[in-house]
Point group: C2
Chain length 406, copies 2
């Protein structure tokens, strides 16, 4: 019998408890041993809930019980999660987590501690919820060098942008609707400002390029400035706007960023709609591969956590994750990286002025029924550095400026 | 040092040789040991090619060399590949293969032999080329029960259907163009009749439902009857037509089939264009996840094979694949399974007659500029069993009948 302790009985924690109990015979057969939830840690009580019989309030009960082999950390937040996880690993207990903040901040350290104590630190559910991405990335990395990772890493913002795109709605109205449906938090900042996506791309970039990428260093721009009119223009091109987390390698530099991008139909991320997430990986041998699914949700995320639990049990005493160095990665400055931009400036008929300051510009008209038709000049630039574009547009009032994915 | 032998120096074999040599330091570091190609088996000579120094013509040289730890089988075809693989496994040498015919036919047997000799039989590249699907499926299966697998498993047919859909071309013209570009074989039967996709869904269904699914038992229909006019109709609905391999569980039965399906924009497979492949998996906990990438190609396929080689090295002496039983799976009869159909019958204005024999029919008009406009009646049925539909349409001349994915 293998004993598991779950830290936190929130959405994901109760999902893990449910999945392990519901598919127990199946999971135990695959793990090669009976899997039993011995403890669930939570500060709250849950009278009448089946969890009651295994509920504890003191982490030390779990830490000091040599029968606990695997700890599932699904409390969220950096502390005390990080301390509990570190202490568990130091006792040789493998840890499986869905906690992206903690993995982004302490992943390098915790992988090292796990290795030193010959146990595993697994974090499949920290990026993309139920989508298998950490393990396939870990696997692909054995053969390929990663040229680029690019992903729709946040379901809330993708839901909002999809609604804006397909139904011609305003940001504020869709956000309110998403909050009413429970797809967005009352305090939506972490999602709409891109902070959540930023943690996730930090984890993927740290893995892909083997050094700690601090999320504080990643240029991050949210979707609050995207308007209905932006979609009116880009839909004329058969394109859409998506919030992407990106990390890539160019001329020996590593770059990472989170920002809205105009993407066209040829990009496999174009078709990713609603609350779905997807991660597109380009390897030097593999070419493009994409992983798609629900990026959140109780049972999907729990399924990913439990697949880590089974892996931890099957590989007891063997390190299965590649670890990334704790040495900090200095990222290239994205302002030094040339990209095309979609730009709207105030005033109609300014094509000649624009062409004086920017080469190879492609102009776009607003649809005739748009409220901005006849009041603006809009265009797509060739690849240009951010600072150079700003300089060129000094004499114009910029209404909107969105990068275009290449 | 770990010694690898490659059986077959065709497209994939030369790709494996290239990948191992090109990314050698990276691969060796990840494998935890130096990886060396000691032999390449081929009946041909390759004067001047770097392979010359390791080329052998006799398989027994490899089989009898105790220094060979891992055998890569990329010859294709059932025999002698199967015999060579079996003999290698009996010597305790792990085998990595891209050979879908052999895996579909002898997968259960070879997994069993590998287990008995404590080595691994790995076949990531046999389905979906470079797309990681076998390993994630193996992983997801540890937790989830698979409700359904549905995939675009053949790049040639997807290229043809994409061209027909987007450029309004005829099957014959696109096939000829694909042959000229080298995307389709001179003898295209294996692709366009669905035989290739059938082998692949047999492998996935055997894994997902843990018993041998014989490909001979799978209902298989190709794309040769799909016409330009079929696309004219379905594009009116914002839908497309894709060749899908499907396996699913319903009322205790397992079903599997390969056939063209009308799919709409909400299906994540809708956006999979050109030579790309994708596999959509629905698990009871996980919900929908999709894996996308190039389903063929020298380096992508080779990358998948080499990731298996690294796995075999890292897990020497430990069985990492779930194996499926050699007991044969009796499939449910797909004619007993009700699905909606898209149907075209000869003669305009037959709506009233159709409604007499079929309930809840949705009629579709051909575009005004179609050559069949005004000559046919077309519609989508509710879910209906194949035999019942045939019976209902006895009095009509059916021009086209294509299943609709739900």
């Amino acid at each position: 019998m293998v004993n598991v302790a779950i830290l936190g009985y929130g959405t994901v924690g109760s999902g893990v408890f449910e999945v392990i109990n519901k598919n127990n015979s199946h999971i135990s057969r695959r793990a090669g041993d009976d899997v039993n939830v011995k403890y669930v840690l939570d500060l709250r009580d849950f009278p009448g809930d089946p969890v009651e019989s295994v509920l504890v309030h003191d982490f030390n009960v779990i830490l000091n019980d040599p029968e606990v082999d695997v700890v599932v950390e699904v409390m969220g937040g950096v502390e005390p999660a990080h301390t509990f996880v570190r202490q568990s690993l130091e006792q040789g207990k493998s840890v499986c987590t869905s906690n992206k903040e903690m993995v982004a901040k302490y992943g390098a350290e915790l992988l090292k501690v796990a290795k030193e104590h010959t146990c595993n630190f697994l974090y499949e559910a920290s990026v993309g919820g139920g989508i298998p991405i950490i393990r396939p990335l870990n696997q692909s990395l054995t053969v390929d060098h990663v040229n680029e990772i690019s992903g729709i890493l946040n379901g809330t913002t993708n839901y909002i942008l999809t609604k804006m795109s397909e139904e011609g709605l305003k940001f504020e109205d869709v956000l309110k609707d998403a909050q009413d449906r429970g797809y967005a938090e009352r305090n939506p900042e972490a999602d709409v400002e891109g902070y959540d996506a930023c943690r996730k791309i930090a984890i993927l970039a740290s893995m892909a390029y083997e050094k700690q990428v601090d999320y504080e260093d990643i240029y991050t721009e949210g979707i609050t400035k995207i308007t209905k009119e932006d979609f009116e223009y880009v839909s004329q091109l058969g394109a859409s706007i998506k919030l992407l987390g990106k990390a890539w390698k160019e001329n020996g530099n590593i770059y990472a960023m989170v920002a809205p991008f105009v993407i066209n139909k040829d990009n496999p991320l174009y078709g990713v709609r609603g609350v779905f997430n997807a991660i597109l990986l380009n390897g030097d041998m593999l070419g493009d591969v994409m992983f798609y699914g629900k990026g959140a949700g109780k049972l999907a995320t729990a399924s990913a956590v439990v697949s880590d639990v089974v892996d931890a049990i099957k590989h007891k005493g063997k390190i299965i994750m590649t670890f990334w160095g704790s040495e900090k990665r200095t990222l290239g400055d994205i302002n030094d990286f040339a990209m095309p931009y979609f730009v709207r400036v105030e005033g109609a008929g300014r094509e000649a002025e624009i062409e004086k300051v920017l080469d190879n510009v492609q102009f776009i008209s607003a649809p005739a029924d748009s409220k901005v038709a006849g009041t603006e000049t809009a265009f797509i630039t060739e690849a240009v550095k951010g600072a150079d574009l700003e300089e060129a547009l000094k004499g114009f009032t910029v209404v909107s400026k969105i990068r275009v994915s290449q």
